[in-house]
């Protein structure tokens, strides 16, 4: 009895759906169809009153960047730049920015980004002692993942340009929130050989939660060369081998985006 009811119900639903479908199809075929419709005034407002664009009042762009860290060699009784391998570390950033155009030459803006920075040490155990001595580690990295904000002031050098970024110089600062740090030890047989073993230590307490500094950029439209100087130390002196040790404070690289 119950099955019978379900069957009937299904048939009713099917007939109903079929009728609706047929009605809709019929409606569609019987009506004239607008295949193009342009409201010129609305279009003009969209074109001429639009204040969003690379060289308009407001703009939001995205980017990725690659950089490496470096510093002048400092080694005195107060400070020591940690020896890091040039090609062994680096950083990758992904972010977006907002730009507010002040006039044809000047703009203000700010970046919001995620950044992952790593430093490969030249001298193993120079920051913290190697935890396991029975394994002969031959490489050591520190990695810092962070979110950052970087307000800046832009000077455009193009006298005449249309709705594109143009060539510019940015002067500004940055503040990073370092939310995840790790220390990694690894055994490699050669420069590019297979990694044999990894030891990763997380939740390090030797890093400051925040770092901050200044930035300088040279933009050639969508390609930007940048340099940053970190004002404070990444490391908390009390937590490391050698108080006064600092990771390289300069970061320079290239950024590509919109």
């Amino acid at each position: 009895m119950k099955n019978n009811f379900s069957m009937k119900k299904s048939i009713y639903i099917f007939v109903l759906l079929a009728s609706i479908n047929s009605f809709l199809l019929n409606q569609k075929l019987s009506a004239q169809v607008s295949v193009m419709s342009v409201d010129v005034q609305k279009q003009n407002i969209r074109i001429y009153k639009n204040d969003f664009g690379p060289n308009k009042t407001h703009y939001v762009g995205g980017y990725i960047s690659f950089a490496f860290a470096f510093d002048a060699p400092i080694d005195n009784e107060y400070e020591k730049v940690i020896d890091t391998e040039f090609w062994g570390g680096g950083s990758f950033d992904i972010g977006m920015y907002y730009k507010f155009k002040l006039n044809h030459f000047f703009a203000l803006g700010s970046d919001l980004y995620f950044s992952s920075q790593s430093y490969r040490l030249g001298e193993l155990g120079s920051v913290t002692p190697i935890p396991i001595t029975s394994i002969d580690f031959n490489r050591e990295w520190f990695s810092v993942n962070r979110f950052g904000i970087a307000p800046w002031f832009r000077i455009n050098v193009n006298k005449r340009r249309g709705n594109h970024l143009g060539n510019f110089i940015d002067l500004g600062g940055f503040v990073n929130w370092n939310f995840a740090e790790s220390q990694r030890y690894a055994v490699h047989e050669g420069a590019f050989s297979t990694r044999k073993a990894d030891l990763i230590v997380r939740e390090l307490d030797m890093f400051n939660d925040y770092d901050y500094g200044f930035l300088f950029r040279l933009g050639l439209n969508k390609i930007v060369f940048f340099s940053e100087f970190r004002w404070n130390n990444l490391l908390i002196d009390e937590s490391i081998n050698t108080p006064g040790s600092i990771f390289p404070r300069f970061r320079t690289g290239i950024r590509i985006g919109s």
Partner: protein, 561 residues
């Protein structure tokens, strides 16, 4: 630390790069006068340029044709880094100079004005479908052969060729980014055989070699005059040609807007009747409100070219679906015949084609032509799309018409092109006057005396009907073998058809309203399906004070409400 030296190297490289780009800016330096210069037009101009002027009752030369003063050039040359070229029309030279140098140039008494140059061209070539069509190469696939035929047949090439209108006696200049293999490809053999390419010049590198670089020019040239196994790909197969490379079309800070200006003067000197330019300058230097036909030098040069008696045909651009939306320069110039894109698959304006009007409200594009074509690429035939290919189709069409009507002046040819549009006298900012039709020059269509557009005015509303005898229902985006859809070559359904009929323009119903300032307020295209139902209904209040125009199958209704 050893890596300091790498950093120093990088910083040095950046500074060197930036330093160089800072130093070497490009400028137009305009002079105050041409006093005292001598000029012999017969020595300077090609005989065809002289003839063109005489036929159009234009002065043999005017002040803008005179050469620049050598002493002025020397003054500037002594200060700047180098000179790239000059323009007689604008009494100007194009120079590379540092800011310091240009400040010195500004103080020269012979200098009237300085304009910095920084722009990037956009080729009106889109999506690069660009796959080699082997079917065309072996000549076995009727579908593709009909596709080649359709791009010209939609404008009525058969009529033109029956009357031997093939552009004979016309000289067409083509401005583009390179013409690789034009000197060896079969598609241009008929032109080479009769020595039909009269001159070539590369305005980027300042030498005559143009048969390399970007294949865009080869493709546009094929749509002016190429042949595929005896089938014309464009209209002006018997014309003569001037090929100018005006653009580098690669990433660069400086582009060749000045190359266009110099090429226009070169075309004038060498006797061109028609210039085809499938190029546009948009957001790299300009804002949309500068697309008024006056702001850009290239648009002013295009107008100047028209004043010298040359018909400038320029693609509208492919910005219709982007942020820019409207036509670029020089398509914004009022004397330029601006060609929008027509999608043969839908039978109307192609989605990506740039829209009008100009920033100062003038109607553009003027006409439209097929923007999905088969073109001769660098190494084979290619299916491609863009208003880049609409423009050469119209340039060839205009040359074929003008060749047979050589008594006409340039703006008369311009008007005839507009009048031949399939929508004329109706127009809108997407289609212009529509796709030019050769039939307009040959067929005398007797008015039927009955307008199929039947307008009924109620108290508050206005209705449009089509008289039953004239009503043609239209269901597909394009009719094929009595119904159904005609799809793009990339579509699998298309590939299953071994035989594709030649395309036709579908019978849409068009309407627009125009306000008192002669600007269209809105425009629409309607696909008709049901003969028993009204086509459109308007609120009288909404169209009050406006002109309503409707168009259907060669008939227009117009009324001021």
């Amino acid at each position: 630390m050893k890596h300091i030296k790498y950093v120093a190297l990088l910083i040095f490289a950046i500074l060197y790069f930036e330093g160089n780009t800072q130093e070497m800016n490009k400028y137009w330096v305009f002079f105050t006068d041409k006093e005292g210069v001598e000029f012999d037009p017969y020595a300077y101009f090609d005989p065809l340029a002289i003839e063109r002027r005489k036929k159009q009752n234009l002065p043999l030369y005017d002040n803008s044709d005179l050469p620049l003063r050598e002493d002025y050039i020397s003054f500037v040359e002594n200060v700047v880094d180098s000179i790239k070229g000059h323009s007689r029309w604008f009494n100007a030279i194009c120079v590379f100079a540092s800011e310091e140098q240009i400040d010195k140039v500004k103080n020269l008494p012979c200098v009237k004005e300085i304009e910095s140059i920084e722009s990037n061209v956009q080729l009106a070539h889109r999506n690069e479908v660009d796959h080699l069509l082997e079917a065309l190469d072996n000549g076995t696939n009727n579908a593709y052969i009909n596709l080649v035929k359709s791009q010209t047949e939609l404008m009525g090439i058969s009529k033109m060729r029956e009357n031997n209108w093939k552009g004979k006696g016309m000289r067409i200049a083509i401005f583009d980014a390179g013409f690789p293999n034009v000197d060896i490809l079969d598609a241009f053999e008929h032109i080479r055989e009769r020595n039909g390419i009269k001159a070539t010049f590369d305005f980027v590198k300042n030498n005559p070699e143009v048969y390399r670089f970007n294949a865009h020019g080869t493709m546009t040239f094929s749509c002016v005059a190429g042949m595929y196994k005896g089938i014309p790909m464009g209209f002006a197969t018997d014309a003569e040609f001037l090929l100018a490379r005006t653009e580098r079309a690669t990433f660069e800070k400086f582009s060749e807007e000045e190359g266009w200006v110099m090429a226009a003067e070169w075309a004038d000197k060498n006797g061109a009747h028609v210039i085809n330019s499938s190029l546009g300058y948009t957001n790299k230097r300009y804002f949309q409100n500068q697309m008024d036909g006056k702001s850009s030098l290239v648009s002013r040069a295009a107008n100047k070219a028209a004043k010298k008696g040359m018909l400038v045909v320029n693609s509208a651009g492919n910005e219709g679906s982007g942020d820019w939306k409207i036509i670029g320069a020089p398509a914004d110039a009022d004397s330029v015949l601006t060609v929008g894109g027509f999608n043969p698959w839908t039978g109307m304006h192609t989605e990506f084609g740039s829209y009008g009007p100009t920033a100062d409200g003038r109607m553009k594009p003027n006409v439209t032509a097929v923007s999905s074509v088969i073109a001769q690429g660098k190494n084979g035939y290619e299916s491609t799309q863009g208003t880049s290919f609409s423009s050469p189709l119209v340039a060839g069409f205009a040359a074929a018409f003008w060749g047979a009507n050589q008594e006409l002046k340039v703006m008369e040819v311009f008007d005839e092109m507009c009048k031949s549009g399939h929508l004329f006298p109706y127009f809108d900012y997407a289609h212009g006057f529509g796709v030019p039709q050769a039939a307009a020059f040959f067929d005398t269509i007797a008015p039927s005396g009955e307008n199929p557009i039947h307008i009924v005015e109620g108290e508050d509303e206005v209705f449009a009907y089509i008289l039953p005898n004239y009503f043609v229902p239209h269901f597909g985006t394009f009719n094929i073998e009595g119904g159904g859809y005609f799809k793009h070559p990339d579509d699998s359904e298309y590939r299953t058809h071994s035989s594709v009929p030649l395309m036709e323009i579908p019978p849409f119903f068009y309407w627009h309203t125009e306000s008192k300032d002669h600007q269209l307020r809105e425009y629409h295209v309607i696909q008709l399906r049901n003969p028993d139902e009204y086509i459109m209904k308007w609120d009288k209040a909404k169209i009050k004070g406006k002109i309503l125009r409707c168009y259907y199958r060669g008939n227009m209704y117009e009324k001021q409400f």
